[in-house]
Symmetry: C2
Subunit: 219 residues, 2 copies
DNA sequence: ACTATCTTTGACCAGATGGTTAAAACAAAT
DNA sequence: ATTTGTTTTAACCATCTGGTCAAAGATAGT
């Protein structure tokens, strides 16, 4: 209890001295992301965390609770950048540049999260409902309407072509995320599973996507 | 044995008289797609097929073998249209129109397959290797080079702007597939989980995507 | 030193799960 | 009717899996 309090408050410990809870979350994240909720084994998570299975259940009473926590942490990670972009007062082009750049960086750091989230959401869409409260929807903040208005303004000014906020957002996210999520397929179909070529392809797409989207809506 | 031969050759039976093998494949497809390889239960597949679990193992000795078959059938379904488009001699714009239209139709018929394939491929990328032989890669037929050449020609003619075949193909596939694969997320983020609104959104995107891509590469 | 609370462990359990087996039911050929 | 080969079933099994429990270690406050 004391240990937990100190760690959570000052976080002065090194990675090797991490408290049990964090070790569990790290291990669970790894196992769940690789094998999915149904494929993951509590024993494997305990082993990877270097602890006993009973201790695992002591911290997170059930597999479901542990999974929910891991899923929520993973999901949350990818929301702020979307909001940040939508909220900012930059012109549309800069918003797109900002978003694509930052999202692709985030993806490079956590390449397995989107696939994990999509997989599990496909298996059980209701998980999302529980997280909705903690990760405010765009609509609630009128962020979509804001983007819509902004687009209209720039259309009137003759800067960009008309496009709905939903379509623009969907396009941007699709073009960023899909090549990561469907990596095994695209790598196989386009580059005969050559990992290095695919990495180069992704690297090349960083600038390509930015320019592609901006040009596509430029008036 | 006799029954199988007759059915496979003449297929004169109605859906209710289907042979056991087909009933198994249908049931397995449903269960595997909804719960994934690790989440699926042989018992549930047997129940859904209206047969005994032992009979299930009689036809497909192991869960893995059954899964492989189902996965292969699902994956194969989405390859021909890509090939057909790449092989055809139509101009690029028509190719895109043809592909988007046909792919979105296919997706409407089988909306769960892409998510299923991506999920399982994420869990175990090696499955794809086994299927590669049966679903010829684009490279082997020089289909990518062919598209690349075609693009170059039309660029020279001043019809389209320069773009690599890989990038174009990736964009088209991403814009078609991602909104289906990530449906639970986008539906939540954009439309507060309103299913009807999302369906309308997808319907609207049928034409939108076609025009968007074509305009984006129009010289 | 003693107590109270929190953390960790080894042993254990009930139910689920993939898979097997031996025998019965069936269908076709002779 | 008998034989031969295929299809289907009920009963069974070894193993795995999420979860529990009682007891032992730690840790801090008195």
């Amino acid at each position: 209890m004391w240990l937990k309090y100190i760690v959570n408050t000052y976080s002065f410990m090194t990675e090797h001295e991490m408290n049990t809870e964090q070790k569990i979350l790290d291990a669970a994240k790894e196992v769940f992301q690789q094998k999915g909720m149904t494929g993951a084994r509590m024993q494997e998570i305990a082993d990877k965390a270097g602890i006993n299975k009973a201790l695992l259940h002591y911290y997170y009473r059930t597999k479901d609770k542990l999974f929910e926590k891991v899923f929520e942490l993973a999901f949350s990670l990818f929301i702020p950048k979307v909001k940040e972009m939508m909220i900012s007062d930059k012109p549309v082009f800069e918003k797109i540049e900002f978003f694509v750049e930052n999202y692709l960086n985030l993806l490079q750091k956590h390449p397995y999260i989107p696939g994990f989230v999509i997989s599990e959401l496909n298996r059980n869409p209701e998980i999302l409902v529980k997280i909705i409260g903690k990760n405010i929807q765009l609509k609630e903040n009128n962020l979509l309407e804001k983007l819509e208005r902004q687009i209209s303004e720039e259309v009137v000014k003759g800067i960009i072509k008309p496009i709905s906020a939903e379509n623009l957002l969907t396009n941007v996210i699709s073009l960023c995320l899909f090549p990561i999520v469907a990596k095994p397929i695209l790598r196989g179909v386009l580059f005969e599973n050559d990992e290095k070529m695919y990495e180069a392809f992704l690297e090349q797409r960083r600038d390509f996507v930015k320019e592609y989207i901006i040009n596509s809506i430029k008036a």
